[in-house]
């Protein structure tokens, strides 16, 4: 009974035990004296008690602090924010559950990685204006019709396709990522996803689409027997130029905007097309131009290097302009 006296004085015993202690106290002077000393402590502290702050005020203050503290976490990428929130939850308030929560968070993050890349591809595909794939397909189709009509001893069909495909790809890529061309530029500038990643995803999407178109056109040519060359030779005729001109287009679009990129790549390609005609003498220069616009290891390397330059250059800035109008320091 003696051990129950502090709780009895504090009033925290369950009712049945409280009554039992009460009954005992009536007949035990030692326990009454003991209780008096506990009562003195309890009463002194009770006399010093203050009512707590009003509930609505306190909760409002606490939650508004939560809103103020949150943005730092929210600007992180989804998976990282999710993890930090879980860890900090476990860490801040719940001592015993800490390890559980941390262990649970790791597989969640692993599971989300490939899924996030796929979601990004789908989301970006929706942002590509419908005119880009439609016009690309129409021009390739036009080139195919032109190529199919070339029926003679010369058999130019493959060459016509190789001349059309690169300029379609370059124009499509320039239209997809240039300053002022992005319908949701303000929104994407505000998302936590890196602009470099966005550029890569969009270029990959359009490049993949244009290569598929050109490959399909090549398949039609081979099936129709319009060109004596095999599918591999026909593909190599456009693959290198498509890659190089697209990479050039990405760089130019990033630096000068889509209009300049389309104009310049078209002009460069025009020079290449001229180089193959009888208007230009068969000099070392025209031969060099032909060598540049071919499917070869140097072409691929230069294309990748140009793409890397464009990706590195694609940093977050104010949408629609290269230099920020305001300096936030």
């Amino acid at each position: 009974v003696k051990d129950l006296l502090p709780e009895y004085a504090a009033g925290s015993l369950p009712p049945t035990r409280h009554r039992a202690v009460e009954a005992h106290l009536a007949g035990c002077a030692a326990c009454r004296a003991e209780l008096a000393s506990w009562r003195a402590v309890a009463d002194a502290l009770r006399a010093d008690q203050r009512p707590g702050p009003a509930g609505a005020d306190l909760v409002r203050a606490a939650l508004s602090r939560s809103l103020l503290a949150e943005p730092a976490d929210r600007t992180e990428r989804v998976s990282r924010a999710d993890r930090t929130e879980r860890v900090s939850r476990a860490d801040r308030a719940e001592p015993e559950r800490g390890e559980d929560a941390t262990n649970r968070a790791v597989p969640v993050r692993m599971r989300r990685r490939p899924r996030a890349v796929w979601d990004l591809l789908v989301a970006e595909a929706r942002l590509v204006r419908p005119s880009v794939p439609v016009v690309s397909a129409l021009v390739i189709a036009l080139g195919l019709v032109l190529a199919m009509s070339q029926r003679g001893p010369g058999a130019w069909a493959g060459d016509v396709l190789a001349l059309v495909a690169p300029v379609v790809a370059a124009a499509g890529i320039a239209a997809v990522y240039g300053s002022g061309r992005d319908a949701v530029a303000e929104l994407t500038a505000a998302t936590p996803t890196s602009p470099r990643l966005l550029l890569l995803v969009r270029v990959a999407l359009v490049f993949w689409y244009d290569v598929t178109l050109a490959a399909a056109a090549t398949g039609v040519l081979v099936a129709a027997g319009a060109d004596p060359d095999g599918p591999l030779t026909l593909t190599l005729a456009w693959l290198g130029p498509v890659a190089l001109l697209s990479a050039l287009s990405v760089v130019l679009a990033g630096w000068f905007g889509a209009d300049v990129a389309i104009g310049l790549t078209a002009a460069l390609w025009g020079v290449r097309v001229l180089g193959g005609t009888s208007y230009v003498d068969d000099s070392w220069l025209s031969r060099a131009v032909q060598a540049i616009w071919s499917t070869s290891v140097p072409t691929v390397v230069v294309s990748l290097a140009l793409l890397a330059v464009a990706v590195i250059h694609a940093v977050r800035g104010e949408p629609g302009r290269r230099l920020p109008a305001t300096h936030l320091t």
Binding site: S12, A36, V41, R50, P51, G52, V59, R89
Partner: protein
């Protein structure tokens, strides 16, 4: 103290679901004991109210992690206790010019009772606090914690033991020690029966 246990769990579940009204209800249910407990730990009302906000914010964020292994009251006072330690550790660190850091984890406030009343206790006394209350403020941390949990928070000894992660016997011995330390003040400040 507190309502029926099941209602607390239901309230906490609603808090986990983002219901701020439930958070207010839960707070109001424990406002007096929580604030009183934190006043004992913090020493002044302003700091206690800040820790109270910390506590409700932590409850808001981690309500979903409540596993139901302990009573809601035990969990709630455990959260408050941790928040108090977090904030008071920082203050002690600043006050002692970094010396508190060398004490390592755990209660970082000085463990020895101050012989003289400090500014906090004087402030309490000035605000109408009793001499015993001021003496409680001078108890070593782990004794003051137990006294506050038993007499201010009104938790049963078993819950206090669970919260502090010590045997019930340790809780009792700390209580007896605290009472012995307070004995001087208790006789002079005897309350009329």
């Amino acid at each position: 103290v507190g309502g029926p246990g099941e209602d607390d769990v239901a309230l906490l579940r609603r808090v986990a679901g983002g219901d701020s009204v439930a958070l207010t209800r839960l707070y109001e249910r424990y406002a007096g004991p929580l604030f009183g407990y934190l006043r004992r730990l913090a020493g002044d009302d302003m700091t206690a109210e800040e820790i109270l906000q910390d506590t409700m914010l932590a409850v808001w964020r981690s309500a979903g992690a409540f596993a139901g292994r302990s009573r809601v009251s035990t969990w709630l006072f455990g959260v408050a206790r941790r928040q108090a330690h977090n904030r008071l550790r920082g203050q002690a660190h600043r006050r002692l010019g970094g010396q508190a850091h060398a004490r390592g984890p755990g209660p970082a406030l000085p463990d020895q009772p101050d012989p003289a009343p400090g500014p906090d206790e004087l402030a309490i006394a000035a605000a109408g606090g009793t001499a015993v209350a001021a003496a409680v403020g001078r108890l070593p941390d782990h004794h003051r914690d137990v006294v506050a949990l038993v007499f201010v928070a009104g938790l049963p000894l078993a819950e206090v033991a669970e919260l502090l992660d010590v045997p019930v016997g340790t809780v009792k011995s700390r209580l007896y020690h605290a009472r012995a330390a307070l004995a001087g003040q208790l006789t002079t400040a005897e309350v009329p029966e």
